[in-house]
């Protein structure tokens, strides 16, 4: 990582990772289901670009496979499948948020600041590229969690889970030397999780006539 390309290599990696964080915020801002899915597809596409760039600068060809998996499954297959699910369920397309969007985004900023402080402290002395990658990855993970807790609709919670997983992949590629087997198993476990969630969505819908997870709370007899 020496030479005249050094600055540009760092800048592009920084740009791609930061765009992922930004797209996580865009997901928080959306209030329509279809728009949220399209943003998620873009999120996965940027992740694929970021992983491919890491593969290029680390000279690690197996990361290209990870990028391809991210591109095919997360940027194409899962968004299309979710589109279908929304159509089949015929659910109301506006997302109900637990608190206002402005407040959610402020919480998101706090999470980003937190992840930067934590990661920069923990990884002191490591390679700068890996450090900032890890900081961004933690931010994406936390924002995915925030998306899951701030939405009532089960479909948007699935999107939150998937974008959380994008953060995990970003962290894994930033740290050098993750074996390919692990990535394969992660990718497939995500796919299986997606299938299970999909089946659950239909079951929830059959039972309660809604995918608002609030109904589950009421069913359990919890009071809010």
């Amino acid at each position: 990582m020496d030479g005249p390309m050094d600055g540009l290599i760092f800048d592009i990696a920084h740009l791609l990772a930061a765009s992922l964080v930004l797209l996580s915020f865009v997901q928080l801002y959306q209030d329509r289901l279809y728009a949220l899915l399209n943003t998620f597809a873009l999120h996965a596409f940027v992740l694929a670009c970021s992983v491919a760039w890491q593969a290029f600068i680390q000279d690690a060809p197996h990361l290209y496979i990870t990028a391809a998996i991210a591109l095919v499954f997360k940027a194409i297959v899962i968004p299309i499948a979710l589109h279908r699910i929304i159509q089949r369920l015929g659910i109301h397309r506006e997302i109900e948020t637990v608190v206002g969007i402005g407040l959610t985004m402020l919480a998101g900023i706090a999470l980003v600041a937190l992840s930067m402080v934590v990661m920069l402290q923990v990884t002191a002395g490591a390679d700068p590229l890996a450090r900032e990658d890890l900081a961004f990855a933690l931010a994406v993970i936390l924002l995915g969690l925030l998306l899951m807790v701030s939405r009532r609709n089960a479909v948007s919670q699935v999107v939150g889970f998937m974008s959380l997983e994008n953060g995990l992949v970003l962290a894994a590629t930033g740290a050098k030397g993750m074996p390919l087997v692990v990535e394969f198993s992660v990718a497939f476990s995500i796919l299986i999780a997606f299938v299970v969630i999909g089946i659950f969505l239909f079951r929830i819908r059959e039972r309660f006539d809604t995918v608002d997870v609030h109904a589950l709370d009421r069913h359990r007899g919890e009071r809010r």
């Binding site: 930061a18 915020f25 900023i109 920069l120 700068p128 450090r131």
Partner: protein, 318 residues
Amino acid sequence: MDLIGALLTQGLQMALVLVAAPLLTGFVRKVKARLQRRRGPSILQPYRDLFRLLRKEVVLADNASWLFRVTPYLIFAVTWVAAALVPTFASGLMFSWTADLIAIIALLGSARFFLALAGLDVGTSFGGIGSSREVMIASLAEPAMLLIVFTLALVAGSTQLSTVAEFMASPEVGLRVSVGLAMIALIMVAIAENGRIPVDNPATHLELTMVHEAMVLEYSGRHLAMIELAGSMKLLLYLSLLACLFLPWGLAAADMGLGGHAVGLASYLGKLGGGAIALAVFEMVVAKMRVFRVSEFLSAALMLGLLATLLLFLSRSL
């Protein structure tokens, strides 16, 4: 000789922003009309409107105070000064040491303050609604704007516009996410501040949605002409600000001769035209938001500015 040249360039800049502002407004309206497959009024129509308004007599409410009469001139003067401070075709002008981003925000803020007061002055309900909405928008747009300024100042090491523009034109900038985020945030703030479509519609007098038009509803004659001209200049100011901060190429430096200034002028007019077309297209494709959604829109701009600053700290501390 040098002094005369510098004075002339500065004077040219002041005249340019005054003359070009109605033209810009007319051009945006024309492009929008063409996109709607209407022929639309001539580009020169805003000048005609201004001259017509200047000739008409002023109708004042009985209970209008001196503030109501002074405000249009005050707004006009303050906006003109602010617009003339932004480097348009040349950096390093005579007064560019005063062209501080924070000073420009303060100038625009005081113009808004007086306009909101004037809206309340006569005591009509529409003026009150307009003023309260304007202040609500401002309370969110100004922090976002300040965060953008912080980001740019951290990148360039100065809040002075000429210095920032020269730094942005130099290859040292590299590929920076923070600058991109600041640009998006500045565009959002500019849309809100100028009352363009997703936030406010400049071409309507619908009482439920209007913000800026509600405040100036009581104005007529030359007072209205001053306010309209100031509004046009504000749009020009934000477009010039975007152009000189994020597309600073072609900006003439202080030591360049006539040729450099001519290139600067041509590229500035090109940038303005491009910005106007982009604005018109954007206004055609988006729908007006509910007033209560404006706070979300602006808090997104605030968030972008904050994120840009945070990212800058991150890349600094590595």
